[in-house]
């Protein structure tokens, strides 16, 4: 009787303390890991943010602060002058319009076409599929410089995939269109799956489709859905995060594109090319300044322009990353 009582009392005494001890250890572990994570991320942020903070700090800095050794990060004299000057030289509005006019349709076309092609590679068996797929990878590897001249000629005398040349047999002269200085080269290459880094997106989407369960498609097939209908109605609404990722990459690489834009545009350049031209134009403008003054004046303006190039995409990413959530299909099937 007494023994049992003592046991119970001991139990009461021991058990809660045992529980709270474990809890405390758990909490300590959690705190320790979040502190470690914080320190690690802090260090990484320094590595990654350093150039951007440098840009930011210099873009808003008045020239006088550049010479002031007490000014390290935070300027004493804030100014928007650098942006105004950069805008005067390159004209942000027209070049931005150029970029957007090229980018938005290209991205939409490219993402859709890449998904279609990737679906074909992921789900259907046909002769030579693996060989053709390795060709897709090859298109990512070979840079545009390798074929810069033939591609230029191709769009300078665009003959609609040889149709113009066939028509030429009747009219005596090949029917060609000059597509330089228009957005059409970008649209056409995106629509035919060889746009800027299209191969990579095909690869990404194919890996994704291969990881998706087949049950949904089989169900659609049993219900009499054709493959195109299945793709549009079942696969497209369920691609989820991969669509966001591909679109994001596509936007970034169109936005930043340099070589293709230099090749296909003659005078009105998009933003990324305009910024590189800025340096040369600035040195022309400031010819009769001393070299030190020139470098000083230039670097701030350049940094302001760089900031304008980087900021919109960063904002876009902050909004887009919210949609990195579990894709519906997987949860729907597995659960």
């Amino acid at each position: 009787m007494l023994n049992a009582n003592v046991d119970a009392a001991l139990g009461r005494l021991l058990r809660p303390s045992e529980g709270s001890g474990k809890k405390a250890a758990d909490r300590a572990l959690r705190v320790a890991s979040s502190v470690l994570r914080f320190l690690f991320l802090l260090g990484m942020s320094y590595v990654l943010l350093y150039p951007v903070l440098f840009l930011l700090s210099n873009a808003f800095r008045a020239p006088i602060d550049k010479l002031d050794p007490t000014v390290i990060w935070i300027p004493k004299h804030w100014t928007l002058q650098n942006f105004v000057l950069a805008d005067k030289v390159i004209g942000f509005a027209p070049s931005l319009l150029r970029t957007l006019g090229m980018m938005i349709p290209s991205v939409i076309i490219q993402v859709f076409v890449c998904l279609v092609v990737a679906y074909g590679f992921a789900r259907f068996n046909f002769k030579g599929r693996d060989f053709l797929f390795s060709c897709v990878i090859f298109t990512i590897i070979v840079p545009v410089q390798t074929m810069i001249i033939p591609l230029y000629v191709n769009f300078r005398f665009f003959d609609f995939f040889g149709i113009g040349r066939v028509l030429g047999l009747f009219t005596g002269q090949p029917v060609t269109v000059r597509l330089l200085n228009t957005n059409w080269p970008f649209y056409i290459m995106s629509a035919t799956g060889v746009g800027i880094r299209s191969g990579l997106y095909i690869f990404m989407a194919r890996q994704f489709f291969r990881g998706m369960p087949v049950e949904l498609e089989e169900a659609a097939f049993v219900d009499g859905c054709g493959p195109f209908e299945t793709f549009i109605k079942i696969m497209l609404p369920n691609v989820g995060s991969i669509l966001i990722v591909i679109t994001l990459f596509s936007v970034v690489w169109h936005w930043n594109d340099y070589y293709m834009s230099v090749m296909f545009y003659v005078d009105d350049y998009p933003l990324s090319v305009a910024v590189t031209g800025l340096q040369e134009r600035l040195s022309l403008l400031s010819q009769n300044m001393s070299p030190e003054d020139m470098a000083l004046a230039q670097s701030s303006i350049l940094e302001a322009a760089c900031f304008v190039v980087v900021a919109p995409i960063l904002l876009l990413y902050v909004f887009a990353q919210r949609y990195f959530t579990e894709s519906i299909t997987r949860t729907g099937i597995v659960g």
Binding site: R37, M44, V47, L48, L49, P51, V52, V116, Y119, G120, F121, F124, F126, K127, R129, S134, C135, I137, F138, T139, I141, V142, T146, M147, I148, I149, P150, N154, F161, M189, T192, V194, L200, R210, G211, P213, P227, S241, I242, I244, V245, F249, V252, W255, N256, Y258, S272, V273, V275, T276, L302, C306, L314, Q321, F324, E326, S327, T331, V334, G335
Partner: protein, 299 residues
């Protein structure tokens, strides 16, 4: 009788599926032929010529395999740079992949300031793919330290490691990777994003089930996370290789660009064709090895 007709039906279905597959990839096939094969073929023809710029325009003079011979026998940099690139990639790619997976795992977790951290780790994708990086390298990294950015000094470490009996090549690999932490983080942006989205697509219910079955976090990482994201890991490995080889700071790529700007288009194309054939060989070997190990819902 019945069996035969079923067989025919089946083969008809297979043929029809094959046709649909070809239809799906048709847009790409058109682009591949017109904007890749034909231009590349034309470029290949240029490599067999010598291009003279005359008043009438470009003049192509047949030269046979002269450019190729030059690349292998006369050019002092070509073979050396290619071998160096290939050797570098052997240790660079695993480091990039481990690093990206680590970061993606951290960024996946729920903590305060996650959005901000994700934005920060996306910075390299935005910056290093564009012209901004060139300007930054000129203005920021060089003006800041007077030399190419190396945030960590590794002189002390080298002597410690050599003293403790490690071979010099091994030590060099380690110190190189430490000195390149900056470079590394700037190269991992795309891979981190890929892996992050893959990690998010692993259903939470699987972890719950594993936890109930008594799996530790370590086990559930390898058996669930790792297995389910393996297709993306393959993708990330291939991307890292491609990115490393086609990056403009790569020595062979610099040779290619330099020769174009010097007007030696035919030689630049010769280098790039040889180079990208070599890269393609490496990538197919790696892809062949890895995709057997990767887990796919359907094969």
């Amino acid at each position: 009788m019945k069996k035969a007709s079923a067989g025919r039906k089946r083969s008809g279905l297979v043929a029809r599926r094959a046709m649909y597959g070809r239809l799906f990839i048709l847009p790409w096939l058109i682009g591949f032929v017109f904007f890749f094969c034909i231009p590349l073929g034309t470029s290949f023809y240029y490599t067999l010529t010598r291009i003279n710029i005359t008043e009438a325009g470009l003049e192509f003079q047949w030269a046979g395999f002269e450019n190729y011979l030059y690349a292998f026998t006369t050019d002092p940099d070509f073979t050396r740079n290619i071998v160096e690139s290939v050797l570098n990639i052997v240790y660079q790619v695993p480091i990039i992949i481990f690093f990206s997976l680590f970061i993606a795992n951290i960024l996946k977790g729920d903590f305060k300031g996650r959005t901000l951290m994700r934005a920060i780790f996306f910075l390299p994708v935005i910056i290093s793919s564009g012209v901004v990086i060139a300007i930054l390298k000129e203005n920021v990294l060089i003006s800041g330290t007077g030399q190419e950015a190396s945030l960590f000094q590794t002189g002390g470490l080298t002597s410690v490691l050599v003293d403790s009996g490690f071979g010099l090549p091994f030590v060099k690999v380690i110190t190189d990777s430490i000195a390149k932490v900056f470079d590394l983080t700037w190269r991992s942006g795309v891979q981190i994003l890929l892996l992050l989205s893959a990690l998010h697509s692993v259903p939470e219910s699987m972890y719950e089930a594993a936890k109930i079955e008594g799996a530790t976090a370590w086990e559930s990482f390898w058996k669930i996370t790792f297995a389910l994201i393996s297709p993306t890991l393959v993708l990330a490995v291939i991307y890292s290789i491609i990115d490393y080889f086609t990056d403009y700071s790569n020595k062979v790529m610099r040779m290619i660009v330099l020769n174009v700007t010097q007007g030696r288009f035919e030689y630049s194309t010769t280098i790039s064709i040889l180079y990208f054939l070599a890269v393609m060989l490496i990538i197919s070997a790696v892809y062949g090895l890895l995709s057997k190990k990767a887990y796919y819902a359907v094969n």
